[in-house]
């Protein structure tokens, strides 16, 4: 059934929303436009509303926000520090500190051990249950443990450096990048996906 409105309702629409038909309520718009086309009274009402709209348009210019406002706002927001800033810097001192804290086996041989001439072959030594002396006969002769210690240290340093580099290269790797989001943006979030909103806006009530 066709929706019709009275002149009284037409006036009420103009009083509230003015002469811009796009602002008229969806429910009444078609009927109001139809009335406007055929009613001289409606057209007179419309003209009066349009005059007020024209005047109100002249007050529309708001001063633009000052150029510093954007930075002032961003400066006031307590952003978390960048991920890279939280990484421990890797340098010789820090590596030495770490290395010093690792309980490597003593590298120095005892006086007694040093005094024993080593007459075994390399093959014997390699299969010896006494340790992991598997590199060379010279090393074995000195009975030093610094090689496996150094290998362990090298792997440790490599791990630290790799971690730092990866962390630096991929900050916030848990989150999608802004570019990713913008490419997705304006997309598929609809009312059915979730409910809820921020807990509150600002305080206060209508008087």
């Amino acid at each position: 059934m066709e929706h019709r409105i009275t002149l009284s309702r037409f006036q009420a629409i103009l009083d509230a929303y003015g002469a811009d038909t796009t602002r008229w309520p969806d429910l009444d718009r078609a009927a109001a436009v139809a009335l406007l086309k055929v009613s001289a009274e409606a057209q007179e009402m419309f003209a009066e509303a349009r005059d007020l709209d024209i005047l109100l348009m002249q007050a529309m210019e708001c001063p633009p926000p000052s150029p510093s406002l954007r930075n002032r706002i961003l400066d006031a927001i307590p952003f978390p520090p960048a991920a890279a800033d939280e990484a421990v810097p890797v340098n010789a001192t820090s590596v030495a500190t770490i290395m010093a804290a690792i309980p490597f086996p003593a590298a120095a041989t005892t006086a007694a051990e040093a005094s024993i001439p080593d007459t075994r072959s390399v093959d014997e030594t390699l299969v010896s249950p006494r340790g992991m002396r598997w590199i060379s006969a010279d090393i074995l002769r000195r009975k030093a443990l610094w090689v496996p210690a150094a290998a362990l240290a090298a792997s440790l340093v490599l791990g630290i450096v790799s971690g730092a580099v990866v962390q630096h290269a991929l900050p916030n790797s848990q989150s999608p990048s802004l570019e990713q989001v913008l490419s997705l943006g304006f997309s598929t979030q609809t009312a059915s996906l979730a409910l809820g909103a921020p807990a509150d806006g600002a305080s206060g009530e209508w008087e």
């Binding site: 706002i73 989001v181 409910l195 921020p198």
Partner: protein, 193 residues
């Protein structure tokens, strides 16, 4: 609640707000850039001066930052929520003005007009600004949201936490008052003596 029928509309800000909730500075910068002018304009219309409007804008975006982590897309458009926060902060500020007995909204607006009189290039604009500033607070808010911000009556009702009918009534009273205040300008516009 008014406006629930429009909930299926995709929110163009939803993804950015979620990123802001994760502490993403770039997303926050983009969101500020996208809405700063609008927020400042609403506050300016309601409060009547740029300094207060900019203070409110700063508070608004701080609240965005604080609340973004709890944002749930789907219940309300972010822009609607943003307008709500802006209007509420403006309202708080207007109340403080009254409580401190400094003035009423009209006097503050007059100060603005005095200060900016020299900047007004048009006598008509000045008169219209003054007429708007003289409107009661809620009528000015409704007119700002619907007429100047282009929001629907449903959105304005949600932001102002009143019924759609109440918004329509506020708008009607506002325009009636403006028509009376601006009758000379309307007559000029029509070429009447």
């Amino acid at each position: 609640m008014a406006g629930s029928a429009e909930r299926s509309v995709t929110d163009p800000d939803a993804d950015l707000v979620l990123l802001v909730g994760q502490g993403d500075r770039s997303a926050c910068e983009m969101l500020v850039g996208r809405h700063l002018n609008r927020v400042t304009a609403v506050a300016y219309r309601v409060l009547g001066n740029s300094a207060d409007a900019e203070d409110v804008a700063q508070e608004v975006f701080l609240k965005v930052w604080q609340h973004a982590v709890g944002w749930r897309p789907g219940q309300a458009l972010f822009s609607t929520w943003l307008h709500t926060v802006t209007i509420n902060l403006c309202r708080d500020r207007l109340r403080k003005r009254r409580e401190s007995s400094l003035d009423d909204a009209g006097d503050v607006a007059d100060e603005r007009h005095d200060a900016e009189k020299t900047l007004q290039s048009s006598r008509v604009s000045h008169v219209v600004d003054k007429a708007l500033a003289n409107l009661p607070e809620r009528q000015r808010m409704a007119l700002t949201l619907c007429h100047y911000q282009g929001l629907t009556n449903i959105e304005a009702a949600e932001i102002m936490e009143v019924s759609v009918e109440a918004v329509e009534s506020l708008l009607s009273r506002a325009r009636r008052s403006l028509r009376v205040q601006l009758q000379d300008q309307i007559a000029d516009l029509r070429g009447e003596p």
